[in-house]
């Protein structure tokens, strides 16, 4: 048992060095940027609409002051960016459905306040506000997404049902529209807990978080409203287990349901398949203090604090998402169907003047609510769990909400402690 030097070398080469050498080649980051200057990497989540990827690559290539590489990320985008932001290999510029309060407080994103100088008023406040914290702006809203209720006019007429304007009317309508082959309403395969989120609370005249940062639904009206969602489920008028979930209008256009809650992005497809035979509504009001509600949200462009070229990245963001209104309009309206985040663009867009689209724009302005920054994932999980139990298991809304209020208060105290 003696070790020859050759054997040792062979072992080392076979087990370590050889392998490293064999896979040392870099898979490379293709340069799609057309400009010179620093290299910036810009991340987008994967949009389903054809042409979006080519469009954002075209914009990036048109920028001359930096070489911008677009990365198109399938899969769970939030998780990927969250992990990447912890490292130096992350993006310089990235779109984010936030940023979250923890990301802001953790110093992961850069203050972009100055970029909006002079045009801040042109951004729809309902989506700009959640991007602001402590008087600073942390992301530039790209486009507005919103959700609403689609209904088949013919089916409602045949059943003698008016388009519902109160939650009670919606519950009754769903019941009446349900037949052996067609369900009354589709709120997603989980029965609505996920997609509705805080919308019913806003429809009851409440909110998730108050202006001064306390729980906004510690009120008997909350339990009353959420309890009505249970009636939809218990009455078997909800479509459940469709192969495509609420975000896809397939169930609606295939005639599996008479009404469906889905996004504005579904409008072109619905229009194409159903022609005039559909209308849109906000989530109907409930109770005397209630008002209709639609959830709105916006992906924003943010700059990573770990970027090696923060200034160049900021300049690029300003160029694309503030200055180039032509690209912003193209991005919002040429591929999917979104409302431009800027009021001036939304006003002049011809595509937004058709009946349903004009309704959607009006709902957004009049009834839109966006998830507040203080509403953290922990609060969201607690609330959504309770809502699911109320809807599906018939759990007592008051008791469930008491637990949620306690958990959310703790969470709100935690995040506000950090805001010194």
């Amino acid at each position: 048992m003696t070790i020859s030097r050759r054997a040792l070398l062979a072992a080392a080469a076979a087990a370590g060095g050889g392998l490293l050498a064999a896979c040392g080649s870099n898979t490379g980051r293709g340069d799609s940027g057309g400009g010179s200057g620093p290299a910036l990497s810009h991340w987008y989540h994967q949009y389903g609409e054809a042409g979006t990827e080519q469009a954002v690559k075209r914009y990036a290539a048109a920028y001359k002051k930096a070489r911008v590489t677009v990365q198109w990320r399938p899969g769970n985008y939030d998780q990927q960016t969250a992990a990447a932001l912890l490292t130096d290999s992350g993006p310089d510029v990235f779109e984010v459905n936030g940023p979250s309060l923890d990301q802001i407080q953790g110093g992961q994103v850069v203050d972009l306040t100055g970029l909006l100088d002079g045009v801040e008023d042109d951004y729809n406040p309902v989506v700009l506000t959640p991007k602001q914290h402590d008087g600073k702006t942390w992301a530039i809203p790209q486009v507005i997404d919103m959700q609403m209720l689609y209904y088949r006019k013919s089916l409602l007429r045949d059943a003698g049902v008016e388009p519902p304007t109160t939650l009670d009317a919606l519950v009754d309508a769903a019941l009446k529209l349900t037949t052996r082959k067609v369900k009354g309403l589709f709120l997603g395969n989980d029965g609505g807990a996920g997609v509705l989120g805080g919308t019913p609370l806003y429809a009851a005249g409440l909110r998730l978080v108050t202006e001064d940062g306390t729980v906004g639904f510690d009120d008997p009206a909350a339990a009353r409203t959420l309890g009505k969602l249970r009636r939809l489920y218990a009455g078997k008028s909800l479509l459940l287990g469709a192969p495509a979930d609420w975000s896809d209008p397939s169930a609606f256009v295939q005639g599996l349901t008479a009404m469906q809650w889905t996004g504005l992005w579904a409008l072109p497809q619905v229009q194409q398949e159903l022609g005039d035979d559909f209308g849109v509504l906000p989530f109907p009001a409930d109770g005397s203090a209630g008002r209709p509600a639609v959830p709105v949200g916006a992906y924003g462009a943010a700059v990573s604090a770990r970027s090696r070229h923060v200034d160049a990245a900021k300049e690029y963001v300003k160029w694309l998402w503030v200055d180039r209104t032509d690209y912003q309009e193209d991005f919002a309206l040429s591929y999917g169907f979104h409302i431009p985040a800027r009021l001036s663009l939304a006003k002049k867009a011809a595509k937004l003047r058709t009946e349903a689209a004009a309704d959607a724009v009006r709902f957004t302005t009049d009834h839109g609510w966006a998830q507040p920054l203080l509403w953290t994932p922990a609060a969201q999980t607690a609330y959504q769990d309770a809502l699911s139990r109320i809807i599906k298991d018939g759990a007592d809304p008051e008791r469930e909400l008491r637990t949620v209020v306690r958990k959310v208060s703790d969470e709100l105290r935690r995040v506000q402690r950090k805001t010194t």
Binding site: A12, G188, G197, A242
Partner: protein, 325 residues
């Protein structure tokens, strides 16, 4: 994972050096050779498994929101927070129950398959292949088939088409909590994916049983069937059984993929059938990056798995050197 699992290597190589002047040199040479063989692997494991693992444990004592280099030490706060979280305790309990069901179910199915395939005369290779093939599928693909095609909740799902033949109403398999049909979906997908793999383990074990034992049993008047199974086959398969059960338990507690792929949607995950790892993913380790809290939960989970595994090993007498196997 038989008795041999934990058998000290020295019994396999009874070359213990006799005391003498060359003893130390012999030791040194052995150590050197050992590390030539084991070193590269051990170094990689240390770097890519132990470093992240210890890092995780370290994080669990800190307030680590969106950072892996936290500075705010909080002691055991994350652990108390996790253990006092009813939803986390719920997920642990759910998963104890899930394990208690899926382990025996997989065990029985794969053993039954092995016994039948082993005795069948014709088409043995065909049956073996058919039952083994699903092991090549990923959870993503399996969940796709189950969720979109077999157990979707509308008329054209396969399960609902079959129900319709009997005139029954369509069932929203993954969406109803009363009765909790989603367990049927989750359990069948796991059985389909795993049974074949464990069947192969049992088949290998069966083929090692000495035929003489069966002949002797026949002479003693044992009837083929249940008696032979109970008195000959099962005792002879004991080592295989121990391995299968251990692997099943570890796999059950680490369940994530099929649950995530079957039950999650863009907006989150329902509060039922939520394994601990899925819960941690949503509250701490995925998008909401409360890495300290998440790591604490994960450490608790790993400790539970470890305790259960060691307990099981003791219970089965795994540590005993002379156990048959």
């Amino acid at each position: 994972m038989s008795a041999r699992t934990v058998e000290a290597p020295s019994t396999a190589a009874p070359a213990a050096a006799k005391p003498g002047p060359g003893e130390r040199a012999v030791h040194r040479r052995r150590a050197l050779w050992f590390w030539v063989f084991v070193g590269p692997f051990a170094a990689g494991l240390a770097l890519f498994t132990y470093v992240p693992l210890l890092w995780s444990v370290w994080l669990s004592f800190f307030d680590a929101h969106n950072t892996v280099t936290p500075t705010h030490f909080v002691g055991l706060d994350n652990y108390t927070a996790m253990l006092s979280d009813a939803a986390f305790r719920d997920s642990l309990l759910t998963f104890a129950l899930f394990t208690a069901f899926i382990v025996p179910a997989t065990y029985v199915l794969s053993l039954a398959l092995a016994l039948m395939v082993n005795r069948v005369r014709r088409l043995r290779a065909f049956f073996r292949s058919v039952f083994f093939l699903p092991a090549a599928c990923s959870y993503v693909v399996a969940a796709l088939i189950w969720k979109m095609s077999i157990f979707n909740g509308v008329r054209f799902g396969l399960a609902n088409t079959v129900l319709d033949l009997f005139g029954a109403e369509p069932v929203a398999w993954l969406s109803t909590t009363d009765p909790p049909w989603y367990w049927l979906v989750v359990v069948t997908v796991r059985l389909w994916l795993q049974a074949g793999f464990y069947m192969i383990l049992f088949l290998a074990g069966l083929q090692r049983i000495d035929p003489v034992l069966y002949e002797a049993a026949a002479v003693d008047g044992a009837r083929p069937g249940w008696q032979v199974l109970r008195h000959i086959t099962l005792p002879q398969l004991r080592a295989t059984s121990v391995a299968v059960v251990l692997l099943l338990v570890i796999n059950a507690f680490q369940a994530f993929d099929e649950f995530y792929n079957l039950l999650s949607d863009a907006r989150g995950y329902p509060p039922y059938a939520r394994p601990p790892l899925v819960y941690l993913y949503y509250t701490a380790l995925g998008q909401g990056q409360n890495l300290g809290l998440g790591s604490a939960g994960a450490v608790i989970l790993a400790l539970i798995i470890g305790v259960v595994t060691v307990g099981q090993a003791r219970w089965f007498g795994l540590g005993r050197r002379n156990a048959d196997g």
